[in-house]
């Protein structure tokens, strides 16, 4: 079946502009995660959605970052007033159930964001 998809694959934006990144999880997966990966670095947790529960936003680096998940499926990560330090690959992952238990995450190909 189809895996996790993300769009766009690449995004170049000017400093100060807003951007929206989209994630389509695997159908039926209840958990959805957003991560940020800077060049040569590990995966930095941003936000986690699980079903209809309130999202875990504890990883969002500033109030310029927000995310929503509509209808328990598609998610959008929005970065307002982008800064150069926001440049990174943004990865989305979905899981059948919450990963903290025993379920693997399936990652999308990522969106490479470059802020000029």
């Amino acid at each position: 079946g189809a895996g996790v998809s993300q769009s766009p694959s690449n995004k170049v934006t000017e400093k100060g502009k807003d951007v929206e990144l989209r994630c389509d999880p695997i159908s039926g997966h209840t958990a959805l995660y957003w991560y940020r990966q800077s060049l040569g670095q590990g995966l930095e947790f941003l936000i986690y959605f699980q079903g209809n529960s309130a999202p875990d936003k504890s990883g969002l680096p500033s109030d310029r970052f927000s995310a929503e998940r509509t209808g328990g499926s598609v998610s959008t990560l929005t970065i307002q007033r982008t800064q150069q330090e926001d440049s990174a690959v943004y990865l989305c992952a979905s899981s059948l159930y919450p990963s903290g238990l025993s379920y693997e995450q399936y990652f999308g190909p990522g969106t490479r964001l470059t802020v000029t």
Partner: protein, 111 residues
Amino acid sequence: QQPVQSPQAVILREGEDAVINCSSSKALYSVHWYRQKHGEAPVFLMILLKGGEQKGHEKISASFNEKKQQSSLYLTASQLSYSGTYFCGTAYTGGGNKLTFGTGTQLKVEL
């Protein structure tokens, strides 16, 4: 707090073995291992749960020492396809369902 991985990088000849370690300062509920090849998304390898349950890759094994809050990934008879960056992701007891990933171990297998 981010788990610490060691070594940061390792180069192997095909057929050699390697061990990658992941240490946490907090009590762990589960440890997940992923491999990421350059320019690609991370791919699931293994999950180890508190209590000893494991699930994952056939040719890669791992251990989880709950007392020491450590996990090790064992790569035996390495193949060229094993090259990539290995990340451990940890779920903390009482820490919800998110994973906190380590900084990664770069593994390169050469002929």
